[in-house]
Symmetry: C2
């Protein structure tokens, strides 16, 4: 038989969220009448707003007409959508042909890893979104797993904890080719300041590294001093790729629409524009985001759509406030949740999976064990603010009553 990909054999257990779902299903089976509330995976729950919904509906309808039908479009996305993202979301900091529309940030991360190949050395924040590491392991950009350390060999983990204000100590960080950095952060909810991002960009420049900046939660930033995109930082166009998404602001987790920015100034050692290779990857192994979803994205960037996105995010930020206040009343130290949809709660002296199990068993609330995002997440629980208000309030009540 064919030899199994040795890189796949390195991966530990399952992907985090399917594992959480498995445990949730088990508790549901044991308690068939229980109404389990999920504050686990960051999955949007609120209906799409009218302007965006109507655009999707109209796009579907038009596909049934001779004039409105469209088949394959440019793999890079609708010209109008690329232009509107550059203008309305980046205020001209990036150009339309640097914007690549896709079916989502997670998928683009996989394609970026394919583009970089197996020879690159990567750095990630610890804790971090699992796809940066897992995808790099799959593409061969890591060594084997050490269950003692909870780390993969060959990958640089940059601890981000309350002690360092969730920003890595770059002076102590060895040089790597690729640095994954997420702000507002999943899972900690921390948002890097302008000064911190300047330090990161300068560090990447000095070390000739590429930053993959995950800005999927950028629209949750309400503090105007905090940068929404890395391109607000001088010099970032020479060192950073930015990943972004309509998933959370427009409620498109199911509709599927994201985008990746690759500035023309970003180059490989042989002078090749990274943009050129990215274009090759996208045209060869991708066929464009759904035309219906792209029309929805266009509507989301119109004035009414922008208002609708703001309202949707306001709703989830209010949820975040309720969870944060509940945990604080319970005496739990929390981080994030003010400019991000995630609350990072510290259960001192305890193991993440134990707290996760306790909350699931006693309160029938699903959370995410912090250690699932990396060893530095041990002792933490991530609460997601995505949910119906009534469910959030019910979950808050149960947490207060059943835990501790």
């Amino acid at each position: 038989m064919v030899k199994r990909n040795p890189d796949l054999t390195k991966l530990q257990a399952g992907y985090l969220f399917p594992e959480i779902n498995r445990r949730k299903r088990k508790v549901q089976e044991e308690n068939p009448k229980a109404k389990i509330i999920s504050l686990g995976v960051g999955n949007t729950t609120e209906p799409l707003k009218p302007h965006i919904t109507n655009a999707l509906k109209k796009a579907a309808e038009e596909l049934g007409t001779q004039e409105g039908y469209s088949g394959y479009g440019d793999e890079q996305g609708l010209t109008e959508l690329r232009a509107k993202i550059a203008a309305n979301l980046y205020g001209g900091l990036v150009k339309p042909d640097e914007v690549y529309v896709s079916d989502g940030a997670k998928c683009d991360i996989g394609r970026l890893q394919m583009m970089f190949g197996s020879h690159v050395k990567i750095a990630v924040q610890d804790p971090s979104y699992p796809v940066y590491v897992d995808g790099s392991v799959i593409t061969g950009a890591s060594g084997g797993y050490s269950s003692k350390k909870g780390y993969f060999g060959g990958i640089v983990y940059m601890p981000c904890t309350p002690q360092n204000g969730f920003f890595p100590d770059l002076k102590k960080t060895p040089k790597t080719d690729i640095i994954y950095f997420c702000s507002p952060n999943n899972p900690t909810g921390a948002v890097a300041s302008r000064e911190q991002l300047k330090e990161l960009v300068d560090y990447a420049k000095k070390n000739k590294s590429i930053i993959v900046f995950d800005a999927a939660y950028g629209e949750f930033i309400r503090d105007k001093r905090l940068p929404k995109t890395i391109y607000e930082i001088e010099g970032a166009r020479e060192v950073a790729i930015e990943i972004n998404s309509f998933s959370k602001p427009a409620g498109f987790t199911g509709v599927r629409l994201g985008y990746t920015i690759v500035p023309k100034e970003l180059k490989y050692d042989d002078g090749t524009e990274v943009n050129k290779d990215w274009n090759r990857i996208i045209t060869t192994l991708f066929n464009g985001a759904s035309n219906i979803a792209q029309k929805g994205g266009l509507a989301a960037l119109e004035r009414e759509g922008m208002t609708e996105m703001k309202e949707t995010i306001d709703y989830y930020l209010n949820n975040a406030r309720i969870i944060r206040e509940t945990l604080r009343e319970m005496g739990v130290t929390t981080y994030g949740g003010d400019n991000a949809p995630y609350i990072w709660a510290h259960f001192k002296g305890r193991k993440s999976w134990d707290v996760f199990e306790e909350i699931l068993d006693k309160a029938h609330v699903v959370s995410t064990p912090g250690v699932g995002f990396g060893p530095a997440g041990e002792g933490f629980i991530r609460f997601s603010a995505f949910g119906h208000r009534a469910d959030i309030e019910e979950a808050a009540k149960r947490l207060r009553e059943k835990i501790k």
Copy 2:
């Protein structure tokens, strides 16, 4: 700076279809009033039919309601859709949990290549759909390019020409890990018989290879003796993955919906089910097809939708007949186009790109140069049967009048 992925440096020029579009744009600029007709890329042109359109519209509308909203679904696709594909399209030859719904066949090929990794040796039909080779080059499963031969090192090319009835001489084919095989074939339009596929399956079994069977054009088969899926062949479940798509039958090239079948019997040398690794790839690096597209797929598999798909394909098959007859009247030898949307036309003694340029310059018709699909395609032109009937008839008229 970061070292460029050495595998990407191996890729030749651009991806075929963007190159064709570039040449088309050039002719359009030089002849601004000309109406250029495309029989090039296999892009659907006919509007979606009412039953399928209404389902898409309803799906979009429901996303605007509390009850009908959905966010992330299972990465593998809607349970109901997986079941319906297994039942209605495969008549139970595959099981629902062997069906993985995706955003399209091209994207799934890229993910399969990520799963197989760089250590596998691959075989492709020559000519073939460029993504099998290009994606394998990107994932490091090839050597360098030989411009003299038009081949990448380390890849086995299996010539499929009129001389061998477009079926490879397997006795002379060296053993490889992965065999890409497409039937109905893109670009030749050839359909493998039951006996041929039996020979292929037996060959794979003997050599312990995995067949990646691309059945994206299976619904164009009208000759009931010809197998629509490789799972009609005994033993195929132990050796074959099948890729398929709603793009052509439902007109979903822009909507984006495909699926890949990975039977549980298919295993790696260490006994691991390929299905298990595929599930890991899909959950880690993909986030599901658009929920709207999936609802469209469900409707396409209802009785009315199945009728609509048949009507759509009838339309394109009639186009194919017109093109085929035109070329034959012109004295050009043609293949395919009866159970496939592609006509493979032999212009003896000439170079594909020369014929392509002549047809584009004189008749303002875009075709695809056969050599773009592999060295054995030299001297051939692929005509795609996707187009409005009036355009097909106009193109046929121009070909008769302007060429030769």
